[in-house]
């Protein structure tokens, strides 16, 4: 199992999606898993950036606790 497939499994990619990836020939499975993981990272970064923008309106000393409260 490739690193990307393992990572997606750890992150909770649904079993049927994993099964689809693993049904492909190994090189294609790795390529698709890499693409899904890269997209996940891009989307995470986008949401993170949007959250940080939102937190910028919170006064400095309260940012960390508010961030923890809202985004875990």
């Amino acid at each position: 199992m490739s690193d990307s497939i393992s990572t997606l499994k750890t992150k909770g990619l649904p079993a049927d999606a994993l099964a689809f990836i693993e049904s492909l020939p190994a090189d294609q499975a790795n390529k698709l898993a890499d693409t899904v993981l890269a997209a996940l990272e891009t989307k995470d970064a986008r949401v993170e950036k949007a959250m940080n923008n939102a937190l910028n309106v919170v006064p400095g000393p309260f940012r960390r606790p508010v961030k923890k409260m809202l985004f875990g």
Binding site: A17, L24, L40, K43, V47
Partner: protein, 384 residues
């Protein structure tokens, strides 16, 4: 690549933020399996941040909608706002949507996760849906619009379809629809001018593969209605459609369309000169054989004039002689009788020869079932 595969890979590449050519290796996979994979991955992406969306939605409920709308546009942005909107009760989200600028609302809709926004979109008032649809249309967001079409209320769908006069957009939205059973509803809402616009767009923007493919999802009445309009496009367009059907192996779809036309239009289409080209006829019969659409083809063969029937018999007796045996085992007898009864006497010897050499058993069974059919008397005499 089949046009519906192209459409599915475009939707997946959009979700995965990559170029669709990077996913070309998925060509050949089952389309439903790819669509299910896309849906599962889309939900997975959303669920990574669902907790945060829920908490932000909880706070948003405590703030007046005007202030929430201001925060959404100035601080949160369309990505977060889309997640939050999906976690709000629909009535609250609708109040908020009413206060958001149209272009922001349209961008927000692009980021909505289909599964988690279904209830929200279904509850959206017609006025907001029509306005957002107009903006999405101007942005070329056909995939998002297709998602809208699938879940909005019938009255909202009517409002949206009334406002679209761009034939290219209509074909693309139809192509990207997740549930193609919705096509009948959408097409029935289009007036004749809009239907004609889709056909003009098919010619102007090389969308005939999409139109032919989508045709296969229509009910017989609409298929006939569209088919008759297609037949009126003139010989150059019809020849082009035949070439497209040949290149993309969309013959079965085309045959279904022609079968649904009225008789006058059928005669016109089946006797187009392009159909006499040997490679075209080869492609037609090979596709019919592989997709078992003999009934669709055989119903039309009796409409061919002699000039067009000869190339068809050439293929059936020379380059694909095994096809006749397959037709005898798979097609309805009434359709086969129609063909055999239409064969001119001059063609009977070579047809009889191929039946003897490649389909003797199937022919005997067929002849036994139809012992008193006058359509095969002359052929039986040749076989004796």
């Amino acid at each position: 690549m089949h046009i519906e595969t192209q459409a599915e890979l475009l939707k997946l590449s959009r979700l995965l933020e990559t170029d669709e050519t990077n996913l070309a290796f998925l060509d050949g996979q089952d389309l439903t399996a790819i669509a299910n994979f896309r849906s599962a991955v889309s939900g997975f992406f959303y669920e990574q941040h669902q907790d945060s969306y829920q908490r932000l939605a909880g706070i948003s409920k405590l703030v007046p909608t005007g202030a929430s709308a201001k925060l959404a546009t100035t601080v949160l942005g369309s990505v977060l706002a889309a997640g939050i909107a999906s976690e709000l009760p629909p009535e609250r989200a609708i109040k908020l949507a009413d206060k958001l600028p149209e272009d922001f609302l349209a961008k927000l809709c692009i980021h909505l996760e289909p599964k988690y926004s279904r209830d929200l979109l279904a509850a959206m008032p017609d006025k907001i849906v029509a306005s957002v649809a107009k903006t999405l249309l101007s942005m070329g967001e056909h995939i998002t619009l297709a998602r809208f079409v699938a879940v909005i209320q019938p009255s909202a769908l009517e409002a949206v379809t009334r406002s679209i006069d761009d034939g290219e957009a209509m074909v693309k939205i139809a192509l990207y629809l997740e549930d193609k059973s919705k096509l009948d509803t959408v097409l029935a809402l289009l007036n004749e001018a809009q239907q004609r616009a889709t056909l003009k767009a098919a010619t102007d923007h090389e969308l005939w593969p999409a139109v032919l493919s989508l045709n296969g999802h229509l009910n017989t009445e609409l298929r006939g209605q569209m088919g008759n309009l297609v037949a009126e496009q003139g010989e150059a367009v019809l020849s082009h459609i035949i070439e497209v059907a040949s290149e993309q192996r969309l013959w079965t779809n085309l045959l279904q369309a022609v079968n649904a036309m009225d008789n006058q239009h059928q005669q016109l289409v089946v006797n187009i000169a392009t159909l006499r080209d040997a490679p075209v006829m080869e492609s037609l019969i090979a596709t019919v054989a592989s997709e078992n659409s003999w009934d669709e083809l055989l119903a039309l063969l009796p409409l061919l004039d002699q000039e067009h029937l000869t190339p068809a018999v050439d293929v059936l007796t020379q380059s694909q002689p095994e096809a006749l045996g397959q037709a005898l085992s798979q097609a309805h007898d009434s359709k086969l009788l129609g063909l055999f009864g239409h064969l001119p006497d001059a063609e009977l010897p070579r047809v009889a020869k191929v039946l003897k050499s490649h389909a003797a058993e199937n022919w005997q069974a067929f002849a036994a079932r139809n012992g008193d059919a006058h359509e095969i008397e002359a052929l039986k005499a040749q076989m004796a």
